[in-house]
């Protein structure tokens, strides 16, 4: 029999039985974790505060006019011309080109992998794509400069395509965000329950009909989120444009000409390590702040889209 088991745990007075123990460690851990949770808030506040603080002298300087900042077509801080449009334009050009590559191919790959490919093929291709996503962007920049640009110049002629051009940077950026979009979209498609597909097949639909009529509408919020994340990644991408897009702010709609994006400008000018008290230095923070809010609103949009569309579902 069980030896004197009843004494194993001291029986206390009943009222003491369930008394709250003073679990100090437990409470310490909890407060540490709460602190961790708040760190991310501090980081965001830090970004806004620090960028704002450094940008303030720029925004409050007499050379700064908001209208000119947002509509001016020349960015040349050395001669007090602060029109941010050329930088924004270049950013948009590269982003649009990147999306033209990344969205069709990315979603195409995602559909192929989730609906057509065998399990084995998918389990090979998906990690491969994820590795592609992990390649440092410097490498992509190098690729743009040493392969895509010469290729474009052979294709369209040297007189048309400048050695530094937004097209090349945009194409390579598309290749960069392609795996991101493909991978996120594939996740969204794979999350559509089998039963939905089977219901469609049961009605005699072909695979592609099932995909377009049933699977994609069901996964639309995930696909939209993937695309928006792709856009925000493209806007923030730096090294590719720094290496391949060109190094002078230029207001142009021609993708075969060189132009400088917001990120490219920041990295070029800060690479030269400006004087801390100059308006150039402060203007960089102004651009950064603009960039931050651009990507921020895109991210918010993406989360909103996911929520909205999944409600509809």
């Amino acid at each position: 029999m069980i030896p004197s088991q009843t004494k194993l745990i001291d029986e206390k007075v009943t009222s003491q039985l369930l008394k709250k123990r003073n679990r100090l460690g437990e409470r310490f851990i909890e407060s540490t974790l709460v602190f961790c949770g708040f760190i991310s808030i501090f980081i965001t506040l830090g970004i806004v505060f620090e960028l704002g603080k450094e940008a303030l002298p720029f925004f409050s300087s007499t050379d700064f006019k908001l209208i000119k900042f947002l509509t001016g077509t020349t960015w040349q801080p050395q001669i007090k011309l602060f029109g941010v449009l050329p930088l924004v334009m270049a950013t948009l050009t590269t982003t649009v080109i990147a999306l033209l590559i990344a969205i069709p191919f990315g979603i195409g790959i995602a559909i192929y992998l989730s609906e057509y490919a065998s399990v084995k093929l998918r389990s090979t291709i998906k990690p491969t794509l994820e590795i592609l996503a992990g390649i440092p962007t410097v490498v992509y920049g190098y690729f743009a400069l040493s392969f895509v640009t010469p290729f474009l110049r052979v294709l369209f002629g040297k007189d048309v395509v400048e050695i530094y051009n937004t097209a090349s940077a945009g194409i390579v950026m598309g290749i960069l965000i392609l795996p991101l979009i493909a991978s996120m979209s594939e996740d969204a498609l794979a999350a559509v329950p089998r039963s939905l597909r089977e219901a469609a097949y049961g009605l005699g639909a072909t695979k592609i009909e099932t995909t377009y009529r049933v699977v994609i509408p069901a996964a639309i919020s995930g696909l939209a989120a993937a695309i928006i994340v792709g856009i925000s990644r493209a806007i923030g991408e730096t090294m590719i444009v720094a290496l391949a897009a060109g190094a002078g702010p230029k207001f142009t709609f021609n993708p075969f000409q060189g132009a400088e994006t917001m990120t490219g400008h920041i990295v070029r000018v800060s690479g030269g390590d400006l004087s801390y008290d100059s308006i150039d230095y402060n203007s960089l923070f102004g651009i950064s702040l603009l960039l931050f809010f651009m990507t921020l609103s895109l991210n918010m949009l993406s989360q909103w889209v996911v929520r909205k569309l999944s409600e509809v579902k």
């Binding site: 437990e26 909890e30 974790l33 961790c36 949770g37 760190i39 991310s40 808030i41 980081i43 965001t44 830090g46 970004i47 620090e50 960028l51 069709p104 191919f105 195409g108 790959i109 559909i111 192929y112 992998l113 057509y116 490919a117 491969t128 590795i131 592609l132 992990g134 390649i135 440092p136 962007t137 410097v138 490498v139 190098y142 690729f143 392969f147 290749i175 795996p179 072909t206 695979k207 592609i208 009909e209 994340v229 925000s232 990644r233 923030g236 090294m239 290496l243 920041i266 800060s270 690479g271 801390y276 923070f285 950064s288 960039l291 931050f292 990507t295 921020l296 991210n299 918010m300 989360q303």
Partner: protein, 410 residues
């Protein structure tokens, strides 16, 4: 229902199947193109990493010896004589530190003459493809150059990893940059891992569905989408400038407070820690979420506290996912260059980082700088360094996949 009222079906199966096939092919092609992009990218790098190199000399060896002689068949006194005559007194003193030149072996002396006087230099390089396809032309071209030899050179070689940066691409390496990268990542992970996992635990296990935790969640998703260069600007403003006294190590006496500058490994590491923190949190949350609730209930049901439940059951079961996320974050940090450029990585530094307050350079920065040198051979060198970086990344990713598969339970 009479027969007349039965609906009519036209089985247009032929055209439906045709469109099915067309779409399938289109999708297949787009997948194929994606793969081709990767292959072209890799081939482009490999193409630059190997190939013929024409090597000339600052002082051609033939000029050092009399007619009809070669360096190899000179004797020791002759070689020593050449060295004494041609190298600077400081270097000579260095060389003779332990033993006079005359006591060196003949082979050593020949090597010294080559390295210190003849000084091999790259004259021209060819890509792998050129080396294969235009072999004869290249040989002919080099044959016409005086005192130049043609070698097939692999820019990826042990020296590339073990040597420091140099102005001579033939001996330049990524040692300093590689160590810098490893240090930076070590710091980034030591900071971001506990914070990130802590946040994830807080959000998944402690925070309810209240307003604050919703804000935190949205905020983390937003942070994950903030461009890396913004983190660079934040790092520049906070770690490099505002906290220079801390990040330069001035408070520990590593540099003097007056000249303190925060362009150090610790600043870079902290900046990248901020950058990867959201990634770690998001992945860790997913991993923790995937631990089934029944397990938590089982644990609570037998009188475990919250933390006991987390520590003994939730964490061990989510650790594969957490580690996978962390490793992906590491590989992200390893490849980042824009924030480090902004923070101010050094251009020329050959000293291994001694502590977290050292100045630094990192592998992607080194690659960036080499691609922007005027000499074409540095582009080959950069391609070699890219292969080193890719190898590192691939092994880290492979480790992630192995971990994921090995510890996958649910």
């Amino acid at each position: 229902m009479g027969e007349n009222h039965a609906p009519v079906f036209i089985a247009n199966l032929v055209s439906r199947n045709r469109s099915e096939r067309i779409w399938k092919n289109l999708l297949q092609i787009s997948t194929l193109i994606g793969i081709i992009f990767l292959i072209v990218l890799l081939l482009n790098i490999i193409n630059q990493s190997f190939g013929y190199v024409a090597i000339g000399y600052r002082v051609p060896p033939a000029k050092l010896v009399g007619p009809g002689q070669t360096l190899e068949n000179l004797d020791i006194p002759q070689l020593a004589g050449i060295l004494r005559q041609r190298v600077s007194p400081g270097l000579l003193k260095q060389l003779e530190n332990d033993t006079p030149l005359e006591q060196f072996s003949q082979v050593n002396l020949v090597n010294l003459v080559m390295a210190k006087i003849a000084k091999p230099e790259v004259v021209k390089t060819w890509s792998f493809w050129q080396s294969l396809s235009m072999r004869e032309e290249i040989k002919q071209e080099v044959g016409q150059l005086p005192e130049t030899r043609l070698v097939f050179f692999s820019w990826v070689r042990p020296d590339l990893v073990s040597n420091s940066q140099s102005s001579n691409p033939l001996i330049a390496g990524v040692r300093t940059a590689l160590l810098g990268s490893l240090w930076i990542i070590l710091i980034a992970i030591m900071v971001a891992f506990p914070l990130g996992v802590g946040t994830a635990i807080y959000l998944e296990e402690y925070a309810g569905d209240n307003h604050i935790s919703k804000v935190i969640r949205t905020n983390i998703n937003n942070l994950a989408g903030v461009p890396s260069i913004i983190y660079g600007m934040l790092g520049l403003a906070v770690f490099v400038r505002n906290l220079a006294q801390l990040t330069s190590g001035a408070w520990l006496g590593f540099s003097s407070p007056e000249t303190a500058n925060g362009r150090t490994i610790v600043s870079a590491g902290l900046t990248l820690a901020l950058l990867v923190l959201p990634l770690i949190i998001i992945n860790a949350r997913e991993a923790i979420k995937s631990v089934p609730d029944t397990l938590r209930q089982a644990s609570y049901g037998i009188g475990a506290t919250r933390w006991q439940t987390i520590w003994h059951h939730v964490l061990p079961n989510s650790i594969p996912g957490i580690l996978t996320g962390t490793i992906l974050a590491i590989s992200r940090a390893l490849g980042e260059s824009a924030p480090l450029v902004v923070i101010g990585a050094s251009t020329y530094i050959t000293v291994d980082p001694a502590n977290v307050f050292s100045r630094f350079t990192a592998l992607p920065i080194q690659i960036y700088q080499w691609t922007s040198r005027p000499q074409a051979e540095f582009r080959n060198l950069a391609a070699g360094a890219i292969l080193v970086l890719l190898t590192l990344l691939l092994s880290i990713n492979a480790a992630a996949i192995v971990l994921r598969n090995r510890y996958k339970r649910y």
